[in-house]
Every structure is written in C-alpha cells, then in structure tokens.
C-alpha cells in the first residue's frame, strides 16, 4: 500500500477540520476516491482508534464525523482546558428536552408543559445557539416556533435527533432515583 493511504488522508482532514465533517464533504474533498471507499476508510479508522485504546476516538456527531477525546480522559483534560466546563441548570435541561422532543414548538406550549415562565431560559438557550427560531406557526397570533440546532447535537454528543434517549414510559414512574420508591402504579391510559 502506498503512502499516504486513504485512511491517513481522512485522518488528517478530520484532524484539521473545525467541526464534524460529513461524508458528503469528505467525498467532495477527495474526488479521486469512491464514496464507498471513503465510508469504509472512516469505519476502519474508527475501529483502529478503538482497538488501539487511543485517547481520541472517531465519533459520528451532528451528521458528521469528528475526532473527540474519550470521556475517560475527562479528569486529566479538564485541568488543562481553560474556561468553565459546560453546565446546565435543571430548567435549561428541561426546556431543551421539551424543545428537542416536541419541535417545532411554541413558547406557550413549552410553558404549559413546564408550568412555569420560560422566557429567560429560552433566551439563554438561543444565545448559546442550542435552540433556534424556526419560523412562525400558522395559527392566530403567529407565535414563534423553536427547534434545536446543529450545535445542540454537537454539544450533547448526538448523531442526530433520532439519537435522543427514548422518552421514558409512564410505567417507569417509580424508577426515578433520589426519591423514595413508590408502589407499583396501576397502568391507565394517558
């Protein structure tokens, strides 16, 4: 095999790129190679990192591929990385979850689900680019509708929206930790 191999080239491209790189983009950058071989090379590269027990791995996130450090390195890396680590309040997480699962959604709908005013939380999520305005709903008053962004997928390490954890079913109400265990609940329809 001559050097550099396709794997090496892709490794280099992924190393320099600033965000997740899609398969489309890689194929575009590598006109001499077939899409299928690019895809195969990505997979080989990913397996390679894994088998080596490397400090970085290749993950599929926000529709593209990105080199990220493995979570086990967290205690070592957080010492070096400047700035505060990402922190989310419970209200921010709740709101994000509602937007993520129910998008496109209006602020009124979010507030009905949460039972509290959500203006400030929504604003800060907009500023953090985790949530975006998707347009206006075609109902009286034309309220703004919100959805999650690509940055949301990047930050939460998700491949796409389908990668969201599935919503817990009502039956497992009693599984929530921290609270005292409840007796089995009768299962009624919603």
């Amino acid at each position: 095999m001559h050097f550099p191999s396709l794997n090496a080239i892709i490794e280099g491209l992924l190393f320099v790129s600033d965000g997740p790189t899609t398969l489309d983009r890689l194929t575009e950058l590598l006109p001499d190679y077939e899409r299928a071989s690019v895809r195969l090379a990505i997979q080989e590269l990913r397996d390679d990192y894994e088998q080596r027990g490397a400090g970085i791995h290749l993950v599929e996130v926000a529709g593209g591929w990105q080199l990220r450090t493995v979570p086990e390195l967290m205690p070592y890396l957080s010492r070096m990385v400047k700035g505060k680590p990402a922190r989310f309040s419970q209200s921010a997480l709740e709101t994000l979850a509602i937007v993520a699962y129910r998008q496109p959604i209006t602020r009124q709908e979010i507030e009905y689900l949460r039972g509290v005013d959500t203006g400030a939380v929504l604003k800060s999520l907009l500023e953090k680019k985790l949530v975006k305005i998707m347009g206006k709903k075609d109902i009286p008053g034309r309220p703004i509708i919100y959805g999650t962004t690509k940055e949301f997928l990047e930050v939460f390490n998700l491949k796409d929206l389908k990668g969201l954890p599935t919503l817990r079913e009502i039956q497992s109400l009693d599984e929530t930790p921290i609270f005292e265990v409840q007796e089995e609940l009768p299962l009624g329809g919603e």
Binding site: L73, V116, D117, V155, N157, E180, P186
Partner: protein, 274 residues
C-alpha cells in the same frame, strides 16, 4: 427528602415544623413541587387526594413567603387550579344524560396528564444532562480564530453563516445608537428608495473584499435611511448578490459580494417590488 418520611406517618405540618431537607429553590415550578408532594406522601398519581396535597402545597407557599422567596406567579396559578379541582370534587357529578355516552371526566384528569408529561420531560432533561457533553467530558481540538486553515479566503466552511435572528439583533443595536427624532417634519424629505440603497451598497462593495456591517451604516444616517439600508441588505441577500457572514460567534458581521454580482441592470430587474 428525609428517609424518615418512609417510615413515620406523614404529618401535615412536617414542612412547617422541622423543615424539609429539600432546598426550596430546587423546585423548578409548581408541577415539580406537586410531583414531590405526591411522592413524599406515597399516593397514587392517578388518584390524588386533592385535599391533602392542596393543603401541603399551600403550606409550601406559606413557607416560601416566610423565607422571603420571590413567589412566582406560576405557583399561585397552580394553587388556584388545585382549589378549583378540590371544589369541583365536592360537587355531585351531574347524571350522565342519555345519548351522551361518555362519562364525565375526573376533574383531576388534566392535572394528572400534565404531571406525567412534565415528569417525562424532566427525566429526559436529566438524561440529556448525563450525556457526555462537549467541553465537560469530551473535548475537541480547539479552533483558534484566524489561524484556521480555511479562513476568510475560503468561505465555504470558514466563516459562519449568519441567521436572521443575529442579523436583526445587530441592526437593533445600531438603531439604538441613533436618537429618535423629536420633531417630525412633514416636508418633502429626500426620497428613500430601496433600489438606491442597494446600488449604494453595491458601489461601496465594489473592489472591496468585504464590508463590515457597522461601517455600512454611516454615523450621520437618519433612522429612516438606516432602515432602508437594512431592507436593501436583506433584499440583496434574498437575491443572492451578497453573503453575510461572521468569522466567529458573536464576532463582527461582514458582508461579502457574491460572485454573481455583475451588472447593476440585473439588480433592478431582479427586484420584484419596484
């Protein structure tokens, strides 16, 4: 949540007497508080003893007031909802009329639905929070602005495309700098046309690599002039004669001539509203 609550019979005034081991501000809202009360009392969520829960709920509100916590209006709304449900449950149910096959809904049904929904999303939120977050558990090679391989020269991937939300925010900031005219003149002022503004922008962009958003709006511009210029910019964007980008988040906004910009005759033709 004290573990004693599991073994000892629950006193109604538990909260007021020896205090909860729960921080009050830990409740995200009335639904969160209600769920906590339901769990603490170990009652069935589908058969909530409204009187008991309402009393404890109101005790909480009282306690919050004593602690001088800002009582959000949402908590009061829920209190009145609870009281309404309670009073509706005291009233005898009207006999279901013939032909109206459906049974009367339990007054608590909607609340139960909301509680379950809320609980689901709250748990989903916690699960999201437990993800391996970028910048917390996992890291990527940092990109220092300016030294990116694909810098301003190659616009494909380098600068971030801007969304309307940010652009209008930037415009509002600019507009705020210009004082509102105190007197309004009805006399014929210079007429402002979007086409003129478009041509002006294009002329200023000519031969330039890019133009900064703030520079586009000259200091001596009137509000009307600025608005027209902004509308012109949006129009140029729509007909794809310029690209508006930022080279970093919250960075300066730049306007780039698009390759398509050729002759000005084409511009006026492309304008649908003139």
């Amino acid at each position: 949540m004290s573990h004693t609550a599991e073994t000892e019979p629950i006193s109604l005034f538990e909260g007021a007497t020896h205090g909860y081991s729960v921080k009050l501000d830990a409740f995200e809202g009335p639904l969160d508080l209600l769920l906590h009360l339901i769990r603490k009392n170990e009652v069935d969520i589908y058969d909530i003893p409204v009187a008991l829960i309402t009393r404890q709920y109101l005790d909480y509100l009282k306690l919050m007031k004593e602690l001088n916590l800002d009582l959000a209006g949402d908590f009061l709304v829920m209190a009145s909802t609870l009281l309404q449900i309670k009073s509706r449950m005291l009233l005898p149910m009207p006999e279901p009329e013939e032909g109206e096959g459906e049974e009367q809904e339990d007054p608590r049904a909607e609340l139960v639905r909301r509680l379950l929904d809320y609980q689901r999303y709250r748990d989903a939120g916690l699960e999201l929070g437990a993800c391996e977050l970028l910048g917390r558990e996992v890291f990527v090679r940092p990109c220092s602005d300016g030294c990116c391989l694909e810098g301003l020269a190659a616009m494909d991937d380098g600068p971030l495309e801007l969304d309307l939300f940010e652009l209008s925010e930037a415009f509002n900031q600019l507009l705020a700098r210009v004082p509102l005219a105190r007197a309004h003149e009805v006399a014929a002022q210079e007429t402002l046309s979007i086409v003129d503004a478009i041509n002006e922008i294009l002329t200023r962009l000519e031969g330039q690599h890019s133009l900064e958003f703030g520079i586009l709006f000259l200091d001596d511009m009137s509000r009307e002039r600025m608005i027209v210029t902004f509308l012109a910019l949006l129009e140029l964007c729509r007909i794809k004669l310029v690209k508006i980008m930022q080279n970093s988040r919250y960075g300066a906004i730049h306007i780039f001539p698009s390759v398509l910009a050729t002759d000005e005759v084409g511009v006026t033709d492309a304008l649908s509203f003139t």
